[in-house]
C-alpha cells in the first residue's frame, strides 16, 4: 500500500527519533484539545446533577426509547419501500421499451438531484401528509432512485458472457434477468446497497424537522426543558453514541459483506465497480484500496 511504503522511506534511526518527537507533539496537541473541551464541559457546568439526573427517570428513558423505536420504524419502512422502488425503477431503466426507459431515467435523475429535505417538506406542507408517511415517502423516493442506479450498474456489471450464455441456452428475457443477472448482481452490490441504507438511517433524523416524534425529537424535548437546566450537551452526549453506533454497525456489516464477497466464487463474473465516494455519501465501506 502506498500509504506506508511509498510516501516516506522506511525510517532510519534519526528519522525515527524525529517522528517520535512529532508523535509526542501531535499527541500532546490532541490531548490538549481534548483537555480543553473537557475543561469547558466542566466549567460551563455540563456535568451538574440537575442536567444529568433526568436521565435516571424511567419516564425519560421510555421517552428516548420510544423515539428510538419511531426512528427504527421509519427506517425499516423506508428501507423496504426504497428497495422495492429501486428494483422497479431499475427494471424500467433496463427495459427494452424506449418510453419506459426515458420515464424511469427522468424520475431517477429528478429525485437524485432534489434535496431530500425539500422533497419531505413538499410532501408534508404542500401535499398535507402526516409526518411519518411524509418522511417515509421522501426517504423512499430519494433512496429508491439512488438504489435504482446501484441495481442497474450491478446488472450491467455482470460479465457479458453470462448473458450471452443464458440466451444461447434458450432462456427468455425475463428468465435471463431473474435467473442469471439479478442473483449475481445483487450479491456483488450488497455492500453498496447496505451503505445506501446507512444513508437512509441517518436521514430518518430529518423527521425531527417536520415534528415526527423520533429519537432526536425526544432529545430536544428533554434538552429544551428549563426545569432540567436545558441539558443540550448531555442530550447530545447520550443520543449521538446511539446514532453513531447504529450507523457504524450497519457500515461494519457492509464492510464484512464486501470482504466475504471478495472471496465468493459466485460473484467472480461481476466486475465490482468501485463505490463512488462522493455519490454515496455514506458511513459505508471504505473505498477499495489497491
Amino acid at each position: 500500500m502506498i500509504t506506508t511504503t511509498a510516501l516516506y522511506d522506511v525510517p532510519g534511526p534519526r528519522t525515527r527519533a524525529r517522528h517520535r518527537l512529532y508523535a509526542i507533539g501531535a499527541t500532546v496537541a490532541i490531548l490538549a484539545l481534548a483537555g480543553w473541551v473537557l475543561y469547558l464541559l466542566f466549567t460551563t457546568g455540563q456535568f451538574t446533577a440537575a442536567k444529568w439526573s433526568p436521565f435516571l427517570y424511567k419516564g425519560i428513558q421510555e421517552l428516548l426509547l420510544n423515539g428510538l423505536g419511531n426512528t427504527l420504524k421509519a427506517f425499516v419502512l423506508a428501507a423496504v419501500l426504497s428497495l422495492a422502488l429501486g428494483a422497479v425503477l431499475a427494471v424500467g431503466r433496463l427495459s427494452d421499451h424506449r418510453a419506459l426507459r426515458w420515464v424511469c431515467t427522468l424520475v431517477v435523475e429528478f429525485f437524485r438531484a432534489m434535496p431530500l429535505l425539500v422533497m419531505i417538506f413538499f410532501i408534508y406542507v404542500a401535499l398535507q401528509v402526516a409526518p411519518l408517511p411524509a418522511l417515509v415517502a421522501g426517504l423512499t423516493l430519494y433512496n429508491g432512485s439512488v438504489l435504482a442506479e446501484v441495481f442497474r450498474s450491478g446488472v450491467n456489471a455482470v460479465d457479458r458472457g453470462q448473458r450471452e450464455a443464458a440466451y444461447a441456452l434458450g432462456m427468455r428475457k425475463t428468465q435471463v434477468m431473474t435467473h442469471v443477472l439479478v442473483p449475481q448482481a445483487v450479491r456483488a452490490m450488497l455492500p453498496a446497497i447496505i451503505s445506501q441504507l446507512v444513508v437512509a438511517l441517518k436521514d430518518t433524523s430529518l423527521g425531527f424537522l417536520i415534528t415526527y416524534e423520533e429519537f432526536l425529537h425526544a432529545g430536544k424535548l428533554i434538552a429544551s426543558n428549563l426545569d432540567y437546566d436545558l441539558p443540550f450537551i448531555p442530550v447530545v452526549m447520550v443520543i449521538s453514541p446511539v446514532y453513531i453506533g447504529m450507523c457504524m454497525l450497519l457500515s461494519w456489516l457492509a464492510n464484512w459483506v464486501a470482504r466475504r464477497q471478495q472471496r465468493n466464487p459466485k460473484v467472480e463474473a461481476v466486475a465490482v465497480a468501485a463505490a463512488e465516494p462522493g455519490n454515496l455519501m455514506t458511513g459505508g465501506p471504505q473505498p477499495p484500496v489497491r
Binding site: M1, I2, T3, T5, A6, L7, Y8, D9, P11, H19, Y22, A23, A26, T27, I30, L40, L41, T44, Q46, A113, M114, P115, L116, L117, V118, F121, F122, V125, A126, K202, D203, S205, L206, F208, L209, L216, K220, A223, L230, F232, I233, V236, I239, S240, Y243, I244, C247, M248, S251, E276, P277, G278, N279, M281, G283, Q286, P287, P288, V289, R290
Partner: protein, 214 residues
C-alpha cells in the same frame, strides 16, 4: 409564475443564502478534508488515529444531529456566533469527512513509483505528498469532490429548517402570504437545480482541464 415574479427579492435572498452557505462550507470542507487526508497517511500514529476518528465519527453522524449539537450545543460553552457561521461550521465539518475519503482514495490511485521516485530524490514526506502525490491525486478526485460538494449544496437545506436564510426557508413567508404552495416549491426546486447544475458545470470544466486523460 406569479409567485416568482412577485417575490423575486425574497427568492433572490434565499438563493444568495444557499450559495453563500455552499461556498463557505465548501471552502471549510476542502481545507479540513485535505488536512485530515494528510493526517490519515502521515507517518505519525497519533495524527492517523485523529484523522480516522474524525472521519469515522462524522460519516456516521446524521447531519441533523450535528446541526442540533453545533447550533444548540456550542452556545452552551459560551461560544456566541452568528447563526450562519454555526451552519457553515456544521456543514463544513460534516462534508470534510467525505472530502477526506475522496482525497485518500485519490492518493491511492497515484502509482507507487511516483512516491518512490520522489523519495529517492531525497524528498521529505510533506514534499512528497504536497508536490508529487497530491497534485496527481487531485486529477482523479475532481469528480468525487464535485459530487460531494453537490451533496453539500443539497444538505444546506437543513440549515433553512434551523432558521438560516436560504432557499427552502422561502416557503414559510410565502405560504403565510397565501401563495400557491405547489408553485412556491416548484421555484425553490428550480433554485436548487440552478446551484447544483452550476457546481456540476464548474467541475466538468475542471475535469476537462486537469482531469486524467484516459
Amino acid at each position: 409564475m406569479n409567485v416568482l415574479l412577485d417575490n423575486l427579492s425574497l427568492y433572490g435572498e434565499g438563493l444568495l443564502g444557499t450559495v453563500e452557505l455552499t461556498v463557505y462550507a465548501s471552502l471549510l470542507a476542502l481545507v479540513l478534508g485535505f488536512l485530515m487526508a494528510a493526517f490519515r497517511v502521515a507517518p505519525v500514529a497519533s495524527l492517523r488515529v485523529f484523522g480516522t476518528a474524525w472521519v469515522t465519527v462524522l460519516r456516521n453522524t446524521p447531519l441533523t444531529l450535528l446541526f442540533f449539537a453545533v447550533v444548540l450545543g456550542l452556545p452552551r460553552f459560551g461560544l456566541v456566533l452568528p447563526f450562519k457561521l454555526f451552519a457553515i461550521l456544521a456543514l463544513g465539518c460534516y462534508t470534510s469527512a467525505f472530502i477526506c475519503e475522496a482525497v485518500r482514495s485519490g492518493i491511492n490511485t497515484v502509482p507507487v513509483g511516483q512516491g518512490e521516485a520522489a523519495r529517492s530524490l531525497g524528498m521529505t514526506f510533506p514534499q512528497t505528498l504536497g508536490e508529487i502525490v497530491l497534485p496527481q491525486a487531485f486529477r482523479s478526485v475532481i469528480p468525487p469532490i464535485g459530487s460531494t460538494l453537490i451533496a453539500l449544496a443539497k444538505n444546506s437545506a437543513i440549515a433553512g429548517a434551523f432558521s438560516v436564510v436560504e432557499l427552502l426557508g422561502v416557503y414559510k413567508p410565502l405560504s403565510e402570504r397565501g401563495y400557491n404552495i405547489i408553485w412556491t416549491f416548484f421555484w425553490i426546486a428550480v433554485g436548487y437545480l440552478l446551484v447544483t447544475l452550476t457546481i456540476s458545470a464548474i467541475f466538468n470544466v475542471l475535469e476537462k482541464r486537469f482531469g486524467v486523460a484516459s
